[in-house]
Symmetry: C2
Subunit: 313 residues, 2 copies
């Protein structure tokens, strides 16, 4: 873990996740993180956001004025600054959270403090760009393979937003012959998330990812489908690097390194030498990598969104 660069200022960060909200205060990861706390997400946004504000105010009293705030949120979210619902969680099926104004509550409590707001995966991407596996890159993707599957991306040095925001986990993939698992996505059945999320793996095998035996054939399917999705991302975005995060990427009892090696082999197989670059061949270990910030990628991402606000002033 790196120490925070000295030009980073004291910020408040909120990783708004579907199962927990993680807050932190500091200048960056590692020693730069002065305090952190987490709350279960629950179904009462107003109460939870008040607790977040109270905690941040308390930390400010201890450590000094927060110069910026960053929120990396589960979604879908409204990312258009000119929209009346900017900073809202919009069409989520999650109880209580539909049309929740996440950014507005913090903005009201910290008047005049710059606030960065983006998707959880774009936040994690920015965190890895600032302090992790993507420093110095202009074009890369951060994937989470966990309870859900999604990805954030930087293109030409800027976080990718577009019309709404990417929903890469819902990409449609070719099925493996003989695999008739229907998938768990309520919208698409066997899309990438429907095939490879933690709940999908559990539905397929009856075993949780962390307990699945290393020789279970489901690991091969997970590696193959995930590799096909990364091949498609490679065809569409041509990233310089792909960071694969999320709890399921740890490969359970198979282990992270062996799971990554399988995904890399399957990725070379899927691309089949068409796009010629060392990163897609002999140097593929440098192309597909785990997050440097590990499980802190999300909350560090929120810190990076805050630091980015300062840089943009």
């Amino acid at each position: 873990m790196t120490a925070a660069p000295s030009n980073d200022v004291l910020v408040g960060a909120l990783e708004a996740g579907g199962s927990k909200f993680v807050c932190a205060v500091g200048t960056g990861p590692g020693d730069g993180m002065l305090a952190r706390i987490s709350f279960p997400t629950g179904d009462r946004p107003a109460e939870l956001l008040s607790m977040v504000v109270d905690w941040l105010k308390d930390q400010e009293a201890r450590h000094g004025r927060l110069r910026a705030l960053g929120i990396a949120s589960f979604g879908p979210v409204d990312l258009h600054p000119s929209s009346p619902r900017y900073g809202f969680i919009t069409s989520t099926p999650k109880a209580g959270w539909r049309n929740a104004d996440v950014a507005g509550r913090l903005r009201a409590a910290f008047a005049g403090v710059p606030l960065g707001f983006d998707t959880d995966v774009n936040g994690a991407a920015l965190g890895e760009h600032t302090w992790g596996s993507a420093t110095g890159l202009s074009d890369f993707v951060y994937i989470t393979l966990g309870t859900g599957v999604g990805a954030g991306a930087m293109v030409g040095g800027r976080l990718l937003h577009g019309l709404v925001h990417p929903e890469m986990g819902h990409m449609l993939l070719p099925r493996e012959p003989g695999d008739d698992f229907q998938g768990v996505c309520p919208y698409h059945g066997a899309c990438w998330e429907g095939l490879c999320s933690g709940p999908a793996l559990h539905a397929r095998t009856g075993i949780r990812a962390e307990d699945l035996p290393p020789d279970h054939p489901a690991w091969d399917l997970m590696a193959r489908y995930t590799a096909r999705a990364i091949a498609n991302i490679t065809c569409v975005l041509s990233p310089q690097r792909v960071i694969l995060g999320g709890s399921v990427r740890k490969g359970g009892r198979l282990g992270e390194e062996r799971f990554f090696q399988r995904v890399r082999e399957e990725l070379k197989h899927a691309l089949n030498g068409y796009i010629i670059h060392p990163f897609l061949d002999a140097d593929i270990d440098y192309y597909l990598v785990p997050p440097f910030l590990g499980d802190d990628a999300g909350v560090c991402g929120a810190m990076a969104l805050a630091q980015d606000q300062r840089k943009n002033l």
Copy 2:
């Protein structure tokens, strides 16, 4: 066809295609195009590029000094200005063209004249952005569905390059149950290009696209697979608009409008309401559109690459 905006200057343009090279001189499309010519691509780059240079010099003598040049080239190409092979066609299987220095020949003949170089599809995207179906947008995709399948993209107001450049035509797609056509891509078999290019349609049916009867079931498969690919592009890039060009998009005897309507219906079916935006629902006619510049998208794209060089000076 619009007249060229008055701030555009006289430029020379080369659309370097796999079957023909189209050259033009002028300020933009329509009345702005003062002269054009096309040559078969053949297998002798040096001879062909000399003919291109001679024609451009001749036009310069007639119409005045060319202020910039633009090349929109078939690929793969090297787009990294710092590379010793910048402006080369690289690993193409096309006879004679491997490692051909396309940009270098024009640069040598027109010393000091700014030269823009990009993929044919990025060029077409920029042409549509400058004069066509994507004016005012920051994030969109231009697809060619023709002899090959590929796409260029603008993200955050800039053409997407990344590690190499996108190769969206080689995306892997779920197969339609019962469709056992093997596809024609030598690398991936039944990738998007392997399933939906002109040669793929011919291999599947024995009939050329322009002669295929309107009620042939292959049109349904073409619409369905192309819609799945556009759904994946939507998930990865979240574009504001998708422009579908190329000869096969005209739908042969089915007709462009009916082919587009089928692709739009299949696209809504593939996305299935997950990403909520009018452009992906009631207003999908504004999301998936044909190129405004029609068959001139490529050569106009090369003109736009040239104009862009002037703007960047």
